[in-house]
């Protein structure tokens, strides 16, 4: 990368080792170094067990690296912080709160002093942003999987994070819903100036959404290759039929094929 300013996220020689029950050492991430510039959409792509989710959790401050350090805006990450938002794959919305209360939840707990009128207006805006304006007063149990993920996204966006971490947010959804949510996410990102890190195992998803696709190798997790998106922002789904897109897709598949086979043989 060529820019001179402080990167939004700087991963410096990150390694993460877990201890298994049998006291064996399991190297999840091995010496990862990467700078992510502000406003960039980055995908971590790889087979299951390659450590891509662990890397996201390290950036979130939910875990600490065994060695190396994670910097956000030039400062070392030591725990979850206010300007970073995260959406998980499952259990993402709180079932005991209505959609409206879910979306406003962060505004209550992050210590911001916001008056009720302002809050209501703001929550309404977020609900409209993700297309849930008619579902404010229902509980998540009545919603489809895709709608629940939109609730979680709206709740996270409500805090206006400058860094958004998405841990396979569409992984559990059906193919059609996933397509729609990908398009929505792309639109939302292009209208904001947030930096996004997305964990996914879907090659097309990574190539459509992200500026940079980091292809991970299987255990121990390493970045095998970084693929730049040849289509500049703003882009949309129409790029999926372009020659460059298809070539990248084939290339990445060849890169991870071997690791996928390996992952199938030794399931964690």
């Amino acid at each position: 990368m060529t820019t001179g300013g402080t990167p939004k996220v700087s991963l410096q020689e990150i390694s993460k080792t877990f201890q298994t029950r049998k006291k064996e050492k399991l190297i999840a991430l091995d010496n990862i170094t990467l700078d992510i510039q502000p406003g960039t959409f980055v995908s971590f792509l790889g087979p299951s067990g390659c450590g891509k989710s662990t890397l996201l959790r390290l950036i979130a401050g939910l875990e600490t690296p065994t060695s190396g350090q994670v910097l956000i805006d030039g400062r070392t990450v030591s725990g979850p912080q206010g300007n970073v938002g995260m959406v998980f794959q499952s259990y993402s919305s709180f079932p005991w709160l209505t959609v409206r209360d879910n979306v406003g939840f962060g505004l209550n707990v992050n210590g911001s002093k916001i008056n009720p009128g302002e809050k209501k207006e703001f929550v309404d805006r977020m609900l409209t942003l993700v297309g849930l304006q008619d579902f404010g007063n229902v509980y998540p149990a009545t919603l489809s999987g895709g709608m629940k993920q939109r609730v979680a996204l709206a709740r996270t966006l409500a805090l206006n994070p400058s860094l958004l971490l998405l841990d396979e947010p569409f992984g559990a959804l059906d193919a059609q819903t996933r397509v729609i949510l990908q398009d929505q996410l792309l639109d939302i990102w292009q209208s904001l100036d947030a930096t996004i890190c997305l964990v996914t195992h879907d090659i097309e998803e990574a190539l459509l959404l992200s500026d940079l696709t980091c292809v991970f190798s299987g255990r121990p997790g390493k970045i095998k290759k970084i693929v730049r998106n040849p289509f500049p922002k703003p882009r949309d789904r129409s790029i999926q039929t372009q020659q460059d897109f298809l070539r990248n897709k084939t290339e990445i598949f060849e890169l991870i094929k071997e690791d996928v086979y390996k992952a199938m043989r030794y399931k964690e």
């Binding site: 939910l62 725990g79 970073v84 499952s90 259990y91 709160l97 707990v109 709740r155």
Partner: protein
Amino acid sequence: MNGADLFKPAQLQARLSRSTYFVSAIATFVIALGIWSLISRSGFINPLFLPSPLAVARAILDSFLNQGYMVDVLTSSYRIMLGFTLSAVLAIPIGLLMGTYKPVEALIEPFNDFIRYMPVVAFVPLCILWAGIGDGQKILVIFIGTYFQLVLMVAVAVSQVPREYLETYLMLAGSRTGHRYVPEGGLWKVILPAAWPTIFDSLRIAAGWAWSYLVVAELVAADIGVGFKIMQAQRFLKTPYVIGGIITIGLLGLLTDYLFKAAAHRLFPWLQER
């Protein structure tokens, strides 16, 4: 619904209308009563051992009208409420901490299990020694009988709250949380609401045990209460009154259960909307 459809795959875990549910529940009671009445009418069993339903109904009525049974019922209910509330008030916060923080679990759970396996009935003589034969002894027996079970059930309910909820909270509360342990806000705003329905179910189940232990305590030593009335009737071989006492407890238990269910319905509207 036709009988053959009852066990079709579509009926697995399916909902039932309120009226069908009510009629089914009543039907079982009626059938049980019918079988009982048939057996006692057949004359195979001496009424001393199994009186007729009518004789038992008469005994219950007589107890209420002429023997001050209401005072016994109210005294027993009061003991249950006090003993059970005491046990719940302690078990919920301690269980919450046990299920959330491993160090608390390590400190409390093994010792709790050690006591949990001791038979409650064996504590009855000790409780008499410690607390006499008044309300204190009954409350103590109920407490010993329910607290050690309840605290474990609460801890299990709490430990099964998906980690994602807590991590979502940590991310949303952001820098305010500071450290990597559960911030106190997460305990009240996420873990408790997520575990509440299961905790509430545990309370309902434990309330049933509380009734059994109360009667055990009252049977051994008491001068008032439903258990005392059962013991007294047994001494004079007044079987209808013994069975009447047992049925009274069954009905009180049913009422307790209903109250818990009705409360859960109001407390957890989000569980109804499936």
